[in-house]
Amino acid sequence: MALTEPILTKRIPCWPFADPAGRALVLYDRFVETGGYAALRKAIDMPPGEVIDLVKSSELRGRGGAGFPAGVKGRFLPDPDGKPRYLAVNADESEPGTFKDRLLLDYDPHLLLEGIAICMYACLLDTAYIYIRGEYRTQARKLQAAVEEAYANNVFGDQSIMGKLNGQVPNCYVHIGAGAYICGEETGLLESLEGKRGWPRIKPPFPAVAGAFGRPTVINNVETLAMVGPIIDKGAEWFKSMGTQRPQGAPPTVPASFGPKLFGVSGHVNRPGVYEEELGTTISELIENHSMGMRDGKKFKAAVPGGISMGVVTAEHYDAKLDFDIGKKCACLGLGTAGLIVMDEDTDMVAVARNVARFFSHESCGQCTPCREGTTWMYKVLQRIEAGDGTTRDLDLLLELSSSMGMMPGTTICGLADGANWAVRTIVNKFWDEFESRVTKQRYVPLTVVS
């Protein structure tokens, strides 16, 4: 089933609903004319706890990569004690293959601001920081202008229609990062917000208890927050009418994949771009119906389902459903950011693995030895294989390296190592023949000390 009307992209022309050539930045007035900020007004007529419950009952799951239920986060917060409580908005979008948040920031920043305001109201958070990556300078400027419009129209500030939150004037600020993938990890983001290097923190304590500046903090992705307004507006049942439903007879505790989602398609297709679809749409549908098929009529070889950390799926899974269960079904890490990277038959998978390993070795923050050293060695070994100097031992070494990272619980602080592991391991395993044909055979003598 396909989405019948655009939701997040209601004001942003996107195929197949409208020609993107007609895109323009939506300013405050146009946002309001098209129903904007009605959801905020509706929310503030409800007690904050009810707003959380509504979002919780919609079973909205985080769109930033982990798929954590958004409504549940608000319930983790301790009761207000009169001191500050924060919302950190994750606009650090740096996962290779991901460019969906940028679409919202570029054209409909108020949709995000409305979600931010509702979240602040529901969770009694007085200050929101939008952490936006340094490379999105143009978007940061648009966002800043939208924030100023929102202040002028009493969304935030001392005349805010929300009144005081947590006993304080609600404020919203744009905070510009400085180029570091790891600041997208939620606690790396908090450290960076505090003016330090973006080293992820050991959890617990979780941010809901001690986050930014040691205070309770909710962290959400841009798309997750943008989804909140439409949910308040149209209700949880409407939201749940879209997406992959729970298997027949499954209890409500089984997580499902409800709602629409922005899918960014890049790589070897005829019309790459961001497409809004229901969760559970298939890879083949995104490629054939939305992206106008493979470029030059080439054959599909592999795809990354959701940002490079998720690993690859092969032609065997061409019709796989893109929902939060894809990890189990297709032997990859998960849906991630739903940034689909499509590769055609001519793609050199060794080069892909080398590119990916380089990314992670460069972006590892360096705190944990398995991640810092492991990603660097993976990169070196893959460079060697690509240059034709690799041996079969190198392949074993690669798999051993990747499986020592992230797989062993507790050896690394954040999920970057896991992403590196899945990305490299799935490429090597699923395209083993290709790797094998590139290395010179050499009998591998296992060292007991190593294994």
């Binding site: 293959g97 180029g179 890049s266 790589g267 771009g273 793609t347």
Partner: protein
């Protein structure tokens, strides 16, 4: 990243009497930026951005001044400054070209862009032209994978690049 060594050990520390972080800048930051945060240290990134915007890079003296301004030690300020890709502790060219080298851009042949720049300007990644006009860097995913390959020239994103159209865009700056 922080653990990838930068040559800060060999960094020449030029000192001058005139401060980099001027009183006017301090007053502006004090009025616009500091009230946003509960601690002064939290203004580190915005302050470093402001100084770099003014001087095109972060002279060590400016890092010290920023540290004094925010009440943190110079080493802490340097610790933060060296962690982030965007801060330059040595001068860079007038225009900074950042070509994305992540997966979607490599699939769409970002290599032709680097080759074209090598031919046209005679610089590889990490280098600056002799006239100080251009610095070339490779970047990781710029969040524009649907219009790959792409590159930033300073703050402006250039999309759907080919060696030919990028050549023209760079030529316009020469």
């Amino acid at each position: 990243m922080a653990w990838i060594m930068k040559n800060s050990a060999a960094m020449a520390i030029d000192r001058r009497d005139e401060p980099y972080l001027t009183d006017r800048m301090k007053a502006e930051l004090e009025a616009d930026v500091l009230p946003r945060y509960p601690t002064r240290q939290a203004a580190t990134l915005p302050v470093l951005h402001a100084v770099q915007h003014e001087h095109n890079y972060l002279p060590y003296q400016a890092v010290e001044e920023a540290a004094a301004f925010l009440g943190v030690s110079a080493s802490e300020m340097l610790d933060t400054a060296t962690f982030y890709e965007e801060y330059w502790l040595t001068p860079k060219g007038k225009y900074l070209i950042m070509v994305c080298q992540s997966i979607s851009c490599e699939l769409m042949n970002h290599g032709q862009l680097l080759e074209m720049i090598q031919d046209k300007l005679g610089i590889g990644p990490g280098e600056t032209t002799d006239d100080g006009k251009f610095t070339l860097m490779t970047a990781e995913c710029l969040g524009s994978c649907g219009t790959a390959p792409c590159a930033l020239i300073d703050e402006t994103l250039h999309e759907n690049l080919t060696a030919e159209n990028f050549d023209v865009q760079i030529g316009a700056l020469q």
